[in-house]
């Protein structure tokens, strides 16, 4: 956060509604929190807002304050964060401005949350063994009743599931019914390919992770003078000294060849790696290198542009660069190298969606685009727990107050911070209106740098400054979520039970289509091999200027013919609603393919952008 907010143009001087901001409570369902972190100091904070109905039940040795107004723990003794993760996400969403922080001099700057004057309520549901569904649901039950304004949850399952079996979808549904928007991380299974996004319900805001313009790199200088660049967050300096290189395969006593090459746990012989830099064919080999007492490590990785904190002088090289080092090692009698301390450089390609960030389309409801939006989630510096190792490797005995980590976990609280910021200007907006504001004002992302397009980044990259003034919003009204459930086949009895009232599906609910849910993006799944015509129906609400006229603008895509009726929307008052229809036609698509374009409603001041995605994934 020493760079991420500025990267989005959300600098420290943006206009803020401080009085309202200090009444906003962000609920964080995570691994707990470190209450003594400067990011959660309550200096300058008054008592909690009157609407706060929660309590401080953080367990042993845990005290709340006027910044950290509530804490609750499930199935454990203390809400104190021993993982670091919950402290990191909470401080990203709503941590104080803390000047002059860094990770051993790297990424120096002011760490800050999206809404530094807001309050935090922490719900600890995770331990090092994971996070039980039963506890997650309990945290939602409490957070909603406690009176939080938003909930950020950087937790997910291995795969997506039906809404009625997903505790986060269930919790978020009831949160939305009470006016609380829930942000969830999209998941970190992007390398598994399409349909890996695990947050699929339309009432949640699902967040992908992307890079920012600060890239961490590290360099290794070989004995022959060749310098290779790789990725790591390496805080160690070898002081211009080269050390002998040894391959994991040559430094084992007990392991088979495959295990030795990747430096599997227990494979390295300490006496063979002492004062040497060991090469391991997998990134995970760093742990064994550290345990065995190697001086440093060179690791192979298939993930570019993401750097992880390492417990010893180490860096990850691409397959080509790693092969160069192996070739140098095998062709020299006394191979040696120096690993330099990491540095940061400017990455002009940013934002690029991280390869680990889970991809759409949505496996459960293919006609709701997921993820919804992208935000910085790579190499984020934020508050951390001094009880945890910064590299997450147990033998790394360093302890830090601020750490650099990556994941959709890190992007999610960025969007939560922006959603909270929007709420400070529009306290009466519904969760769907806030969600729409974030999505329709998002920076378009460059598909040439992001080949998975909308399935990687959704509507684009969150744009906090624009999000407070979207012009039009795709709001949902009471009953819309229930009608959506009807459209995906939920029966009458179930609907009544979920809603708790006499809600029923419309008579012709078999004709309701999920793609007609008033969503800020437009997605249709069509059969492969046939030309297609699909229609969308949408309603926008004027939240910009009372008397205004919006014209539709369509971006070009030679393979999609898009018609919008009407092409002009004229408003006479605020909160006025206008509906329009979109017809998209195109020629037959192959299996597992997608096409996209976008429509923008513009009044010359506001640009209300929605992606249109047509795909053939089943």
């Amino acid at each position: 956060t020493t760079r991420s907010w500025d990267f989005m143009g959300f600098n420290e001087t943006v206009k803020r509604n401080l009085t309202v901001e200090s009444d906003v409570i962000v609920g964080v369902i995570d691994s707990g929190i470190w209450p003594e972190s400067e990011s959660f100091s309550d200096e300058g904070f008054g008592p909690p807002p009157k609407k706060w109905k929660g309590s401080c039940k953080g367990g042993q040795n845990f005290t709340c304050n006027n910044k950290l107004v509530g804490a609750q723990v499930y199935g454990q003794d203390s809400a104190r964060d021993t993982e670091g993760h919950g402290t990191h996400t909470a401080s990203t969403a709503a941590g104080n401005n803390v000047e002059d922080v860094s990770f051993f001099g790297l990424a120096k700057g002011t760490a800050r949350g999206g809404v530094p004057s807001a309050r935090i309520a922490a719900y600890k549901v995770c331990s090092e063994e994971g996070c039980a569904s039963a506890d997650i649901l309990a945290a939602f039950d409490d957070a909603i009743a406690d009176g939080v304004d938003l909930i950020t949850i950087s937790i997910g399952a291995d795969s997506s599931s039906e809404f009625y079996q997903d505790p986060i979808a269930i919790g978020a549904f009831h949160a939305a019914e009470k006016g609380i928007l829930v942000m969830q991380s999209a998941g970190n299974s992007g390398t598994s390919g399409p349909q890996s996004v695990i947050s699929v319900a339309p009432w949640k805001l699902t967040v992908a992770a992307s890079t920012m313009d600060r890239l961490f790199i590290d360099k290794v200088v070989l004995g022959n003078g060749e310098t290779l660049t790789g990725f790591s967050i390496n805080s160690f300096s070898l002081n211009r000294t080269k050390f002998p290189l040894v391959y994991g395969l040559q430094a084992t006593s007990d392991c088979d060849e495959t295990s030795a090459r990747i430096c599997e746990i227990g494979c390295l012989n300490s006496s063979l790696v002492k004062n040497k830099i060991v090469l391991c064919d997998e990134f995970g080999g760093q742990e064994e290198a550290h345990v065995a007492g190697a001086l440093g490590s060179i690791l192979q990785t298939s993930i570019d542009n993401v750097s992880f904190v390492v417990p010893l002088p180490a860096l990850a090289l691409s397959i080509d660069n790693y092969d160069s080092v192996k070739s140098y090692l095998s062709s020299n009698e006394q191979p040696e190298a120096e690993i330099l301390k990491s540095e940061t450089i400017e990455d002009s390609a940013a934002p690029v969606v991280a390869s680990f960030s889970s991809r759409g389309p949505n496996l459960i409801v293919p006609e709701i685009l997921k993820p919804d939006i992208s935000a910085p989630g790579v190499d984020i510096l934020a508050a951390y727990s001094p009880a945890a190792s910064p590299s997450s490797i147990a033998t790394d005995e360093r302890r830090v107050k601020y750490n650099i980590i990556s994941g959709t976990s890190m992007s999610c609280p960025h969007v939560a911070g922006v959603a909270a910021y929007v709420k400070t200007f529009h306290p009466d907006w519904s969760p769907s209106a806030i969600k729409s504001a974030l999505m329709t004002t998002a920076f378009p992302m460059d598909p040439s740098n992001n080949p998975d397009g909308e399935f990687a980044y959704g509507s684009g990259h969150v744009n906090p400054v624009k999000a407070i003034n979207p012009g039009l919003v795709y709001d949902t009204v009471k009953g819309d979520n229930i009608r959506f459930l009807c459209s995906i086949g939920y029966g009458e009895g179930t609907i009544r039970q979920i809603s708790g009232d006499n809600s029923s599906c419309p008579e012709n609910s078999e004709n309701l289509l999920p793609r007609d849910f008033n969503y800020p993006s437009l997605t249709a799944a069509v059969p492969a091999g046939d030309s297609f015509t699909v229609n969308f129906h949408r309603t926008v609400t004027n939240v910009g200027v009372a008397r205004s006229t919006y014209n539709v603008e369509l971006s070009s895509n030679s393979k999609l013919d898009v018609k919008v009726t009407p092409e002009v929307l004229s408003f006479k008052s605020l909160k006025e609603k206008k509906s329009y229809n979109v017809t998209v036609t195109g020629q037959a698509l192959g299996n597992s393919s997608m096409l996209s374009t976008s429509l923008v409603w513009s009044d010359g001041t506001h640009s209300v952008r929605s992606p249109i995605v047509i795909h053939t994934y089943e």
Binding site: D30, S31, E83, H85, C126, E129, G130, C131, A132, S133, A134, I136, L137, A138, F140, D141, D142, I144, A145, S154, I155, G156, A157, D158, Y164, Q165, P167, I168, I170, G171, H174, A175, E177, K178, S185, G187, N188, G407, T408, S409, C412, T494, R496, Q497, I498, S499, G500, D501
Partner: protein
Amino acid sequence: GAVEEDRKVYIAYLGSLPGGEYFPSSHHSSMLQAVFKQSSVANYLIRSYSRSFNGFAAKLSDEEAKKLASMKGVVSVFPSKVYYLQ
């Protein structure tokens, strides 16, 4: 008659809280009593969700979970899985 070791934590989701006078814990206990056909269920009821929506977590065998799922007013019964930080 299920063997204790075969039981795992299931979540019973009952939707929104009903209006009017409603005592979630006793309702949840009576549902479990109907499943177990015994009056003492305190050891099996792990958690009641009753502040913002309706449901509970309980230790059940697969058969007991199926029986619970078929009861009136139950939206879904599903195993409590392990989720992960992302």
